[in-house]
Symmetry: C2
Subunit: 422 residues, 2 copies
């Protein structure tokens, strides 16, 4: 990518840049070329990688936008850890596409600029990050359904079951080079947590359990490697690629999906497994946190809502689809199509369970933990929950072949929870 037109938007440069963008000026309720004191700027950060600012009309706090810019390095680490700002291209492309597919479930885009690696979006000021809400044991009556719908709509629409062959390969070409972020996933989800590695998290009691029960479990490690192979080489659909509870903004009424810079073509089960694992990690945390059994039950009840909403909507879309890469009128009888859908959903449930298992382990042992558990201060107590999450990972991985429905997955989790005394 040429750097000719790129510069970093610091606090001094931001007002002039925004003042030249008509759609942003309008969103802020200002006039073109507004003075720098017409807005207030708050740096709010995201996942440590990019600069993110909330920009507010200084005279009308209801007029706000979010400005996100990628710099050519990890923001938190600094220039010592270079990271191509190309990553913003993939977020821009994915968010634009998602605005076509599921406009009610993603922030609106006011301006996107690949040359500047900048994205200016709707500000979700009345929503909070779902992970934070779940740590505080808040229930969200519509979130699970929104998550299921988001995955059904986006995965179906970008798959070979919906798209014609050439359009699908054109779309793949727009994401195939998102290589740096794919490599992070390959290493930090599918490799390092299952071996001794300097990047891994450490907690003495957990470390010992991991050496005895993860590093020595050949079947489990080879199963993880099988899911790594799917992640690396299966291109079922455009994935969000990082769909955890930190990538969702919620309130009591609605849900928005954010942070799609990991977007790329991968296996259907990856997004599904990842979000389910994050619900389970939150569930385990409430053996310690204030939500207790009541909130754990609420979480476990959301998992079938996510899956069943996904399954039902995906099949509705499939039933309504015209010709696609995969299907041509006259190929299958209605009975054969019914069998296909049923076999597809069973395979996908088991694949999602496998990815869920990988995600449980990486979020426990790998560098990127979840605040749900990592923020528990007492290391011994934290280790009990970590070991429980690792046991869940192994249990789900081993039992996935026998699961025939999402209720089986939840039952499998419950059966393990029932053996412990926390």
């Amino acid at each position: 990518m040429s750097d000719d037109n790129y510069y970093i938007l610091d606090l001094d440069k931001l007002p002039a840049y925004l003042g030249e963008l008509p759609s942003v000026v309008e969103a802020l309720g200002l006039s073109a070329g507004f003075a720098s004191d017409a807005i207030t700027i708050d740096e709010i950060g995201d996942g440590n990688v990019n600069y993110v600012y909330r920009v507010t009309n200084a005279s009308d706090a209801s007029k706000q936008v979010i400005v996100k810019q990628a710099v050519p390095y990890f923001r938190l680490v600094g220039e010592a850890w270079p990271l191509s700002r190309d990553r913003m291209n993939y977020e821009i492309r994915a968010l634009n596409l998602y605005n076509d597919i599921v406009p009610d479930l993603v922030p609106g885009v006011f301006h996107a600029d690949e040359a500047m690696s900048t994205l200016i979006m709707e500000c979700l000021s009345e929503h909070i990050i779902l992970r934070i809400g779940m740590i505080d044991a808040i229930t969200y009556p519509t979130a699970a359904e929104a998550i299921g719908k988001f995955m059904a709509e986006t995965l179906f629409a970008t798959s070979a079951w919906a798209m014609p062959s050439e359009a699908r390969r054109d779309l793949m070409a727009q994401f195939v080079k998102n290589d740096e972020l794919c490599k992070l996933t390959e290493e930090f989800i599918f490799t390092f947590p299952y071996m001794e590695h300097e990047s891994n998290y450490s907690n003495p009691a957990t470390d010992e359990w991991v050496r005895e029960n993860i590093h020595t479990d050949s079947r489990y490690k080879l199963d993880v490697l099988g899911f790594k192979d799917l992640f690396v080489a299966k291109t079922d659909a455009l994935l969000h690629g990082d769909l955890h509870t930190g990538s969702l903004m919620v309130n009591q009424d609605d849900t928005y999906v954010i942070d799609m810079e990991f977007a790329f073509f991968g296996p259907f089960g990856f997004d599904i497994g990842k979000i389910i694992s994050n619900f389970l990690l939150a569930c385990t945390a409430h053996y310690e946190r204030a939500g207790g059994q009541e909130y754990r039950e609420w979480i476990l009840a959301q998992i079938p809502v996510i899956w069943n909403t996904f399954e039902q909507r995906f099949i509705e879309l499939w039933d309504a689809a015209a010709e696609s890469t995969m299907l041509t009128a006259g190929l299958l009888t209605p009975d054969e199509f019914a069998t296909l859908k049923s076999e597809f959903m069973l395979d996908l449930l088991r694949e999602s369970a496998g990815f869920c298992a990988c995600s449980m382990a990486r979020r426990t042992v790998g560098i990127a933990g979840v605040a749900d558990v990592r923020d528990i201060e007492d290391p011994a107590r934290r280790s009990e929950l970590e070991v429980l999450n690792l046991r869940l990972s192994k249990h789900i991985m081993a039992e996935r072949h026998t699961m025939s429905s999402i209720d089986d997955l939840v039952a499998s989790v419950r059966s393990l929870y029932a053996t412990i005394n926390l």
Copy 2:
């Protein structure tokens, strides 16, 4: 692609074009800007799609080159059937890469020009197309081993088991847009042969059998669709994409692989299954052709040579490989790595069998038959062989789950051959 620098190389324009290319001039043993009567030009055709010329030094017949140019339509049909000449880019890229990986198994390249959609290659004047040799019941003592080696070297080298993550995605990006030729495969191998379609071949006795035994076999059709899904969405390695006996040039000493314009990232088993199916189609043909049982036995003996050479060489390369996308030192123990390789090869054998089954059917029922069978004049006799090949397709597809070795695949074929009386 810009057309600015492109023109069709007819017989008048060819000498001047070649005379400006130093490497070609040298290969022809001529001087730059040679006169048009210094060479003789024969149009030799290829698979009907491109223009292919043999260019010979008029005073020294040992100095020859092959010139292949894509035109923006199907050559045989004419401008009424447009086909992007981008296809030559993929052949150029694949052939250049194969010259790095297996220089002894592909023609040397004198000049490649994506703007002109032109490739100028070594002339294999002492070799013939393997399919033609096999129709004439000629044995080739080194061909099967060369085929196995070609697949092992090219599939391994371009896979995530060999390449680092970013380099692999860069390579994928070079082939992801080979969409027109992928679409041909999707439709003509994995869709139309299993339904009523105007493009299909017709032979009355065969047609009736197909209606009763293919169109109504739900399990078989859904299995074929499963392999279509792998073809569409699995990106294990750079495939040749059209590796049949017509894409091989052989003599008693050596073997060359040609015509890689279908090259793209797909599942490991596709090339393997396709070449095995073409050996089986040739085998069946010798129930009628002159080779008889003796030649059939020779063919059946080559299939394990292909697979075993492939397997052995692939594993040698794997054992010698350094870090890759998939593997990192310290992740697996030697025993775990051994289990991985063994499970990988078993899965791949069964996947290859499935693709072999698809290829048997498409070459029998689909538009593109094989001369081995299609050129048999008596329609009734031809239909007997066609039905046999379709029965083989169904038999291999159904039995693939029980195959543990390539010998099981051959035994499965023999068991079906044993039931017939031809």
